[in-house]
Symmetry: C2
Subunit: 473 residues, 2 copies
């Protein structure tokens, strides 16, 4: 049975159940997404102020069989927050007014934030309490906690601190039935029944709406250090990573690889970004460490540099001598996505493979791409996690439009390779609406069947984020 549209009659009913200003026509910004692939059908957005209002909205939608698209900061890259379509226009549900940090328990290393809280503000609230909330990614100034959890966001500190799911102790959420799950526990250990928390995390709003979360904080490392090291190859980068972890254990908090193409794109499109070496290195690695007191990160990184040079893993490098220099190194890494957008990718891939497959994956991907056409590849990312952004660009002088017809083939060629190597076609961005086909093609059939059974059990009418992750039925 198809869903009903969020039409005038429905909106009228809903308006009667809510305070006056909760419902309004959705401005354009709610109907766009960062890569410009989709635009949402014109509809209304609900802006609740409390979990009870969220529950009222979900119940009304469940009764009327109207679809709901939960909306966080709108930064998702796979279209999970934008539902195209006409006849069945869904209701958007933005959590932006539920943006409080409800509490910080520094002595417990716990913070409770509402779903609409912006990541940078959560980081700041932790910092004020002398603690670290380690989730960190390019969109942290606008991404909101609900969306970050719904998509199990990754970022640059996963190596040490884990993905978003690893940073969450408990949730408050509204289930598709409209029931409120009061699960905001501040416990490290709680083995009382099925792990509903991790089921909602990463479900991209298809099994319920996260309204608040209790989050893990960490002690601030006594001192941090940053180095930019030139490596001969991705294999040498992995050798360097192993050496760093042998020397410093979990203190290695970020380990990011960059290929020459990224540096070239920066030089071409963002000349204000200072590049620390005169010649763009074929491969370079940004290493960040946070050490306990008694150790000097600069000395530890100098020692790593010397040992890795000795071992033939590193040919050149710089250890940041100040916070300003560390920030300069990070600028190189963090502005690559902006340079990419200026160049214009034919196809972008957020993939992971087992760590030991990285050195084979990178050149083999290029070989297979060369059979499709003449492309440039900008390969960069969280190599310490086996997670690469492997983005394909036109050769100089050509535009993405010239290759539009090859996008599906490129995606297929690269994702097939990832799959052959035991990897994932979505390492950190999720499935959204962009990768529904990929999920069907590559996911284990038994898992896919289980996912569909769970979706039908918890959301029998299919109102929660219809068409995201699983095809709408």
């Amino acid at each position: 049975m198809p869903l009903a549209p969020a039409d005038d009659a429905f909106l009228e009913t809903l308006r009667a159940r809510l305070p006056g200003d909760v419902l309004r026509p959705a401005e354009a910004r709610y109907l766009e997404e960062p890569r410009g692939r989709w635009s949402g059908a014109p509809t209304h957005v609900a802006l609740p102020r409390s979990v009870d209002e969220v529950a009222d909205i979900v119940r009304a939608c469940a009764e009327a069989r109207v679809g709901i698209v939960p909306y966080g900061g709108g930064t998702g890259l796979v279209g999970g927050q934008v539902m195209p379509g006409g006849a069945e226009a869904p209701l958007l549900l933005s959590l932006e007014r539920m943006n409080a940090v409800r509490g910080v328990w520094a002595e417990e290393n716990v913070l409770v934030a509402e779903a609409g809280a912006i990541l940078a503000e959560v980081q700041g609230a932790a910092r004020e309490a002398g603690r670290l909330f380690p989730l960190s990614l390019a969109s942290e100034g606008s991404a909101r906690m609900g969306g970050l959890l719904a998509t199990n966001a990754g970022g640059v500190n996963v190596l040490r601190y884990g993905n978003a799911r690893d940073l969450c102790l408990g949730l408050e959420a509204v289930l598709p039935s409209g029931e409120i799950w009061h699960g905001l526990r501040r416990l490290r250990k709680d083995n009382t029944g099925y792990d509903l928390r991790n089921l909602l995390i990463g479900a991209e709003g298809t099994l319920g709406v996260i309204t608040a979360a209790s989050l893990r904080l960490f002690p601030m490392p006594a001192a941090t250090g940053t180095a930019l090291l030139v490596v001969e190859s991705p294999a040498a980068a992995l050798g360097l990573l192993a050496m760093a972890r042998t020397q410093m254990g979990e203190a290695v908090s970020a380990f990011e690889i960059m290929g020459r193409t990224g540096w070239e794109f920066l030089a071409e499109t963002l000349p204000e970004v200072r590049l620390p070496f005169d010649d763009a290195p074929e491969w370079s690695v940004l290493v960040e460490v946070g050490l306990p007191r008694g150790l000097s990160p600069a000395e530890a990184l100098e020692e790593l540099f010397a040992d890795a040079f000795e071992a033939g893993l590193v040919s050149d490098g710089l250890v940041a001598q100040s916070e300003a220099q560390a920030a300069e190194f990070w600028q190189v890494r963090e502005r690559i996505p902006e340079a990419n957008r200026k160049i214009g990718a034919v196809s972008s891939h957020d993939i992971s493979v087992p760590l030991s497959a990285i050195p084979d994956f990178i050149p083999e991907g290029m070989r297979r791409l060369a059979a499709v056409g003449d492309f440039r590849v900008n390969c960069f990312g969280h190599v310490g996690d086996g997670n690469l952004h492997y983005n394909v660009f036109p050769a100089p002088g050509r535009s993405r439009a010239d290759h539009e017809h090859q996008r599906d083939e490129i995606k297929r060629v690269l994702h097939d390779l990832v799959h052959e190597m035991g990897g994932s076609v979505s390492a950190e961005h999720g499935i959204g609406r962009l990768k529904v086909d990929d999920l069907e093609r590559y996911q284990d059939p038994a898992k896919l069947n289980a996912m569909r059974a769970i979706k039908d059990a918890l959301d029998p009418s299919g109102i929660m984020n219809p068409g995201a992750v699983l095809r709408a039925r």
Copy 2:
């Protein structure tokens, strides 16, 4: 519709589908559990050698609607592995023959083990590869990986490395339909659909049978150190923990509290255990740290001791000067459960509360217990995780049998208090069959409804570990 028994006709059919020696009558050891509360109905046990055989068995049970009780090392403390009953005798499914370590990828920090692998052997395989598999608990010599994951086991290193679920990257499992989920990924990041892995972990065999897992390994800390410190109170213990984490960050790998009663029980029942102080301290803490190279754990612990003494948190203490002395300190902590068994608990409680509630919980629990009767409490455990074993014993001269009639009341009183304080009535042991009533009483109703919906969706006949976690219908 009730389940069918694993009767002769069923066993005949099943035998025809399997190699000759897979099925046999279950010896007594399969029908007992460590606390002696239940004994299983006489039945047969299946001992498959491969995931395909497991799938054959599950399919046969699904077709005939025969219950399956998955069996690991038999060390569970809540009766998840023992199904009492007569008419509907289930089939036991022991994974003990699937005990291989399928592979170790040291450079990836990954190990793949089958469900029947014993924890100590997995630890050993990691150690041989120069890596650490940090899951560690009293029963590690007999507990098997499948059971450890199915119950999301905890232990002494959760503070630093997390629970069993945090150590698992992927699973191979047979779902209640008999489908095999091939999910043995070696990836740190994989956002492709619902988190079936975490749903099976902690489901105690009620949603499927785990047959193998890919597990996270860690670099070995360059050096470890151990101290036994006398603290004035549980509040002082938490102050010491905060100080330790400020000084050493995540390097604090274990932080165990012991009350005077535990030491008294050791002196009374296990005189061969050497107690490092002449007078049993009211409260003491066992601290273990693993530091990166360049730091001396002994020096770091001496410094912590001095600072904590200065701050009035610690009144006495010993920093181990050798591995032998560290082992001696650990003996005190690890043999408390054995001493408990010799004394004979009226009621044992594996609870957690938010860290900041610990100092109130311990005395308030004693106050409420005193209203029930005259008891001794042995309170010890993983205080760094907010997880206490709060075990209630008869006063000297009385036996557990004298208080049998008060067991339910004691449990109710303590669990009500835990619940009031936002805690969990099963921190690390799970629900099994022992705590099904507690789950119904204390769990959030929305979560409980979601759990039942998931169970019905994935296991519509209810064959998987019937009556564990959720009441059989």
